[in-house]
Symmetry: C2
Subunit: 236 residues, 2 copies
DNA sequence: AAGTGGTCTAGACCACGGG
DNA sequence: CCGTGGTCTAGACCACTTT
């Protein structure tokens, strides 16, 4: 009751109870849960839908709801490098390579829905995990949205800083490609030139579908992979 | 009313109407739609949730529901190579490189939840798009699930064949990495040895969370990228 | 203040799965 | 057959955005 809605609370509660259970263990039925937690069945279903979307349970019509066998990963969600590394039990860090304000230009301007002359903050950072170079990240942000950002310490989480400014990407569109590293990139990542890398280009959008961030991440192929779940039909 | 549920029908209906609209155009309110289509507001919300999950609309509490500006792509769903290529307006084809039955072994056995001695069908195919090599695909399937598969023409869609056998992956767990091609792979893909490639390893699961397929796809980096949308929090 | 989407209820019937 | 999750209804109140 304290923070959010009933279904959110119930979802968190069930999550805790499910944690130690083996895969394919059946949960209580929706009707039982509704009685036990003194909520309507619709609320139970909303909570379960959240767990299903998170890859924690699966449901079979006519049979029941069961604990998922998630060997690989939870459904892909939008995360920052810092969050990602902490989840992998690594210590994230970063070194700022370039930080400054430049005109958007046509490519970045188009993607962030700005004019070519509108100023954007450009930020190139080398991201480290446990002091090892992991990823070279180039971010562009509309300058009007992030006043004073360039005066701050940029070696910690950018997403946390944006959050304090009221900027919260809730959705992103990503394009993933395999590339071989150029000389300067290879030098920064401490790999031989031509070593393979995973290039992830992301446009972050806020709750009104406005672009707030455009980031290209170049990950060392030997130290990074992208794990995620997909569904045949989007969940409804 | 003909094929499925009301919310499915309504979702498809709204989808058609939304198609020509500009991004950020507001839809009718949920209450209006409920009256117009003679359904409850809950049903309208179910339909809209589907469109939201598909990246077609976004909703802002207190303001309304709006057409998404999807420059890149719809949310990632589980698709076969054939579907994927047709969506990219390319003509898919394939050449069978190897097809046979082998013992699962510890790696494949573990992933498909079989014993090391259980037989699996191994299928290596070169996938073409518009007659150009695109991807080298190695699939493993539990042999008991696919009797007679090896006697059929395997150059068309594997997923369609599986479907006729009642095998339908609804979910998959994927791991994407960047690699450089080995000599034999490079030869089949017609790229220089050492050329970059995108490696997608997938375990397909049916509606009961049972593994039914394990496929490794090696895509030419110069001809393929992976586009998808992600959300900060899973949709509920 | 008015209107929007978000949450929640109590009830009903349907489609499917298992004994 | 019975019990399961899936769909649907009609209504209510809340949190939020806009005017």
């Amino acid at each position: 009751m304290f923070p959010g809605s009933k279904h959110e609370w119930l979802g968190a509660e069930l999550r805790k109870q499910i944690e130690p259970l083996d895969a394919h263990t059946p949960l209580s039925t929706e009707r039982e849960l509704a009685v036990r937690y003194q909520v309507s069945r619709a609320t139970v279903r909303t909570a379960l839908r959240g767990l299903e979307a998170a890859g924690i349970v699966y449901r079979v019509q006519g049979a029941g709801t069961f604990v998922s066998d998630s060997t690989v990963s939870k459904t892909l969600t939008l995360t920052s490098f810092s969050e990602d590394m902490r989840r992998r039990a690594s210590r994230p860090d970063s070194r700022v390579v370039v930080a400054g304000e430049v005109p958007a230009g046509s490519v970045i301007g188009g993607e962030l829905r700005l004019s070519v002359d509108d100023p954007v903050v450009r930020l190139v950072r080398l991201r480290l995990a446990d002091d090892e170079p992991m990823c070279l990240e180039t971010s562009y942000l509309p300058a009007v949205l992030v006043p004073g950002l360039l005066g701050e310490d940029l070696s910690s989480s950018l997403y946390e800083k944006l959050d304090t400014l009221g900027i919260r990407p809730v959705r992103a569109e990503q394009v993933v490609t395999a590339v071989t590293t150029e000389d300067t990139e290879a030098g920064l990542l401490v790999v031989p030139p031509g070593a393979p890398a995973l290039r992830v280009q992301r446009i972050g959008l806020d709750h009104r579908d406005q672009p707030v961030e455009r980031t290209t991440s170049l990950y060392r192929a030997d130290r990074y992979d992208l794990k995620f779940g997909v569904r045949r039909e989007p969940l409804i």
